[in-house]
């Protein structure tokens, strides 16, 4: 398996999926046109996170941050309040950084590490774009409600795991 494919596979973790789907739901719900700004901010975040990994950043709370960001995005979708796209972009930027930090490449050479990070970034950007595009095309009321139900599931999952992590950290 090539380093790029391993990077793609690294994206398929529940924490990553929750965060990217929540961001996609939020951006799609609030966008009249395809949310290019959020996509660009997500890409920039992934780049910054990868750079931090390359600089040798070690242990970090990226997984917890991803869950918190997923919960925040999901809360925005459930509330369905008008959220300015720059704020959604900022959430995307933060998710991009946390995502890259949470999936450090296990490759030895610089080239294969870059390929792995590229694979992760491509998977994240495509997943975000697909979710946002689908949500943007929801026109019926029941479809809009369905989007909010999925967000409620994401928020509930994030709340539960954040509580578990908090309790585990307290007990350690």
């Amino acid at each position: 398996m090539s380093a790029f494919v391993r990077g793609l596979m690294d994206f398929v973790l529940p924490t990553h999926l929750l965060a990217i789907v929540a961001l996609g739901l939020l951006a799609g719900q609030h966008a009249a046109r395809f949310p290019l700004l959020a996509l660009a901010e997500l890409a920039a975040g992934l780049l910054v996170g990868s750079f931090a990994i390359a600089m040798g950043l070690g242990e970090n709370p990226a997984a917890t941050a991803l869950l918190a960001l997923a919960g925040a995005c999901a809360a925005g979708v459930i509330a369905a309040w008008p959220i300015p796209m720059p704020i959604i972009g900022l959430l995307g930027f933060a998710i991009g950084i946390a995502l890259a930090l949470n999936a450090p490449p296990k490759e030895i050479t610089r080239a294969s590490a870059l390929a792995a990070q590229a694979g992760l970034a491509v998977a994240a950007l495509v997943a975000f774009a697909v979710v946002a595009a689908i949500v943007m095309r929801t026109t019926h009321a029941w479809q809009r409600i369905g989007v909010r139900i999925i967000a409620a599931w994401i928020a509930a999952s994030a709340i539960l795991v954040l509580a578990l992590r908090w309790v585990t950290a307290l007990r350690a």
């Binding site: 529940p14 409620a152 599931w153 509930a156 999952s157 539960l160 509580a163 578990l164 585990t168």
Partner: protein, 191 residues
């Protein structure tokens, strides 16, 4: 051939592991299976959907959004280890009460319905929260059981749509009676 037949008989005769206990197994599929393995959870979740169909809008759309969030709050109580007395009794009572609401086609004010369902959601969430695996699969497990709970609601709502027809109303109300009976069975220790 005789050995094969014997093995097949053993497979058929063996009682399936239907206990509501997947502690420590983690993973999305385990989480997905978790609410489904407890009949008391299943009937209560379906009853929420059925009742939502009787209540109509906005309850029918509000309940599947509010329930997972309140359930998560109950789950946090369970994770924190805070005492919640008579959890299993609360779950059994939820099946009885929600079943009776469906049987009686009750239409209380939306706030009263939300309060009742929310109270029971805490009991269900607490039970799930206590069994959340403390490992790397916690996220997948939590997502799995939240989605399974939501799908049970949606199944209830889908079945509840039969209330548009007179025969369907009878079928749904009969299902409510069955759900209440299952709750009585759990409360009486028969199930």
């Amino acid at each position: 051939m005789r050995r094969l037949a014997g093995a097949l008989i053993l497979c058929v005769a063996a009682s399936p592991a239907l206990a509501h206990d997947v502690e420590g197994t983690g993973g999305f599929l385990a989480g997905l299976a978790h609410p489904v393995l407890g009949l008391d959870h299943v009937v209560a979740m379906v009853a929420v959907g059925l009742w939502g169909a009787f209540l109509g809008p906005p309850a029918i759309v509000l309940l599947p959004i509010v329930f997972p969030l309140v359930m998560a709050f109950g789950g946090v109580l369970g994770i924190l280890g805070l005492p919640l007395p008579a959890t299993e009794i609360g779950i059994a009572v939820s099946a009885i009460v929600l079943g009776l609401m469906v049987l009686g086609a009750a239409r209380p004010p939306i706030w009263a319905a939300a309060l009742l369902v929310g109270t029971f959601a805490i009991f269900h969430g607490y039970a799930h929260g206590r069994e959340l695996p403390d490992d790397a699969n916690a996220v997948a497990f939590a997502a799995g059981f939240v989605i399974a709970t939501g799908l049970l609601h949606l199944a209830g709502i889908a079945f509840g749509l039969l209330t548009r027809w007179p025969a369907g109303r009878i079928a749904v109300r009969t299902a409510g009676a069955g759900i209440a009976l299952v709750g009585v069975g759990y409360l009486g220790g028969m199930l």
